[in-house]
């Protein structure tokens, strides 16, 4: 396959440099974020415990080198949470970048396309009127997944009908907005019907997002899903680029437009649903990360933007979560509040800056 990215002196260097920097930042973030929390632990101890567990099979732990509570906090509580944050952030950011290319609109994001509000409604249903089978957290996750897939399919087919059999970017965005409104109404209605204050509180918590559900055994699905998703998106980078030039041009340049868009929309939906069903609603990652990457790398080339967005999204969410855990001491702030309060003003700033550039 021929490579075109390296054609430019300036831009050609920027991509790999950013990649390296973000990779280092990711490594640093793991150590740094594991250290942060209500119990402060020195970096040397974090390093020691990680090295011992990864390379020495826990020999030093057995010899009593570290206090058991510290080991528990680092290895069993914070590390899975930080890794979970990386996978969620990376997956949401990569999906954001992919969806922006799919609907050819830089403001698209899994949330704007209605997928997360569907997950919200599903989770609210499970929390407020539980089904008799699969009780507990699994049911919430499965109902959220079902809700996300339901709204993704609704958005897809509504957009297709409105576009006269073709999936057009504008109708896709509009039907996303419509489904968003309907699903939010469903959630509100369920809360209105609900009797117990505890379950209403649970729905509110879920809607604000959190990584608190992270454990080693819940990490497998998001990690595999995100890795496969990012790999697929990156390998299809050239095709995403073609699609960004418009449907007609993409078709004339040799892309099977309808099939590709439908397939990628499905991959995005499954990936977002699998993440959101565990974490609850975490907004703005998919919107902000690709924008920042485009500004820093000076290109919209998806082969660069998608992997870089994933890295940046991972770093971003880990630190947002570290902030959520530490800002109010022992009481944890919902992650969705952090991402929204950082994301929204930042997004406005980017838009204003961009506007100035283009004007």
């Amino acid at each position: 396959m021929l490579r075109v990215t390296g054609l430019q002196r300036e831009r050609g260097l920027r991509g790999p440099l950013l990649f390296l920097l973000l990779f280092l930042a990711l490594g640093g973030s793991i150590i740094g974020a594991v250290r942060i929390g209500s119990v402060p632990i020195p970096v040397s101890e974090v390093f020691g415990i990680l090295k011992d567990q990864l390379f020495l099979g826990g020999r030093k732990l057995a010899s009593g080198r570290w206090e058991m509570p510290h080991f528990q906090i680092i290895w069993n509580i914070r590390l899975p949470r930080v890794l979970f944050g990386i996978f969620c952030g990376a997956g949401l950011a990569a999906c954001g970048a992919a969806m922006q290319a799919l609907v050819r609109n830089p403001i698209a994001d899994p949330y704007i396309l209605g997928i997360s509000s569907g997950a919200s409604a599903g989770a609210a249903w499970a929390l407020l009127m539980p089904f008799p089978f699969f009780p507990g957290q699994y049911q919430t996750a499965m109902a959220a997944f079902a809700g996300a897939m339901l709204s993704a399919c609704t958005v897809y087919f509504m957009a297709k009908m409105a576009g006269g059999g073709r999936l057009q970017p504008v109708t896709l965005l509009l039907s996303g907005t419509a489904v968003n409104a309907v699903m939010s109404a469903v959630t509100s209605f369920l809360i209105f019907l609900a009797k117990s204050p505890e379950s209403i509180a649970a729905v509110y918590n879920w809607q604000m997002g959190s990584l608190a559900a992270a454990q080693w055994n819940t990490l497998l699905l998001p990690s595999v899903g995100t890795t496969v998703g990012i790999a697929v998106f990156t390998l299809c980078g050239t095709r995403f680029n073609l699609l960004m030039m418009g449907d007609d041009d993409a078709a004339a340049m040799g892309l099977r437009v309808r099939g590709f868009r439908a397939l990628m929309f499905l991959v995005c939906s499954v990936l977002v649903a699998s993440l959101v069903s565990v974490t609850g609603v975490i907004g703005f990652v998919g919107l902000v990360a690709p924008h920042v990457v485009r500004l820093l790398s000076n290109t919209s080339d998806c082969r660069t933007v998608i992997p870089l967005s994933a890295l940046l999204g991972g770093v971003y969410l880990v630190w947002a979560d570290a902030l959520a855990r530490s800002v109010f001491g022992a009481a944890e702030l919902p992650l969705g509040i952090i991402t929204a309060s950082i994301g929204a003003p930042f997004f406005l700033y980017l838009m204003i800056r961009r506007g100035g550039h283009n004007g």
Partner: protein
């Protein structure tokens, strides 16, 4: 490569936009499609790539039905430049032209060389590192034409490529296309340019072919009045065909 359109019918939102259009673009020649607004010119060229699906009829490239080809195989045979050159994303000019490599068959040149050559042929090598968002409409048009050229296809289909171009670049582009030796199917609004440059003209009116043939025959005073509702005709100006309004 010879392109043949046989009995093409297309319905868009309940209206029959093309009602059985047949035409042939001969190999190595420049065939112009002219006609009033809304007569189906753009729709016709879009059927080539399956962007508009005909309800009847087919498009043949050297006697092979194009609908049997994959989009990628089709793009290796025919390059296309549409009317719309809008782009919401920040790509450099070389990124945009480099997209042509997705379908290009001939791999004897490196990506850099293919892009450099296409830009040089369209005389826009100096734009190479510029962002597509920073270009004027005319510059963008030339970049998109360079991209179609970089696909390395034997045939080019261009929908009003002279839009946004100043007069010097209009003539430069048409001279370039004429000298390229490729089969060129071109939608034009400027009847003077069409008369001067095209080997053959297809006059569309209300979704049907009103006339086809040499520019002198197609742009007769009678047909021009009948289809466009204006006075004007093509004439022989010392071995070259020209078109004059109000004649």
């Amino acid at each position: 490569m010879k392109l043949e359109y046989n009995g093409i019918r297309v319905r868009l939102s309940g209206r029959e936009v093309l009602r059985g259009v047949s035409l042939t673009a001969e190999s190595g020649q420049m065939t112009g499609i002219i006609g009033p607004n809304g007569c189906g010119k753009s729709t016709l060229v879009k059927t080539t790539f399956g962007i508009c699906t005909p309800s009847a009829g087919n498009v043949l490239a050297d006697s092979c039905d194009l609908s049997q080809y994959s989009p990628r195989e089709r793009a290796a045979l025919i390059g296309y430049v549409g009317q719309d050159t809008g782009c919401a994303f920040d790509f450099s000019v070389s990124d945009v032209v480099g997209m042509a490599l997705h379908a290009r068959r001939d791999r004897s040149l490196s990506a850099r060389e293919v892009v450099g050559q296409a830009l040089a042929e369209l005389q826009i090598a100096h734009l190479r590192d510029r962002s597509i968002l920073s270009l004027s409409g005319g510059e963008r048009k030339l970049v998109f034409i360079a991209r179609a050229v970089a696909q390395g296809a034997d045939a080019l289909i261009l929908d009003e490529p002279t839009n946004h171009l100043d007069i010097r670049h209009q003539l430069f582009l048409l001279d370039y296309l004429k000298g390229s030796g490729k089969t060129v199917l071109i939608v034009l609004h400027d009847l003077r340019l069409a008369a001067h440059y095209c080997d053959q003209l297809i006059l569309l009116s209300d979704g049907m072919v009103a006339a086809k043939g040499k520019p002198l025959e197609v742009l007769s005073a009678r047909l021009v009045r009948q289809v466009f509702g204006i006075r004007g005709e093509a004439y022989d100006a010392g071995g070259q065909v020209d078109f004059s309004l109000f004649r």
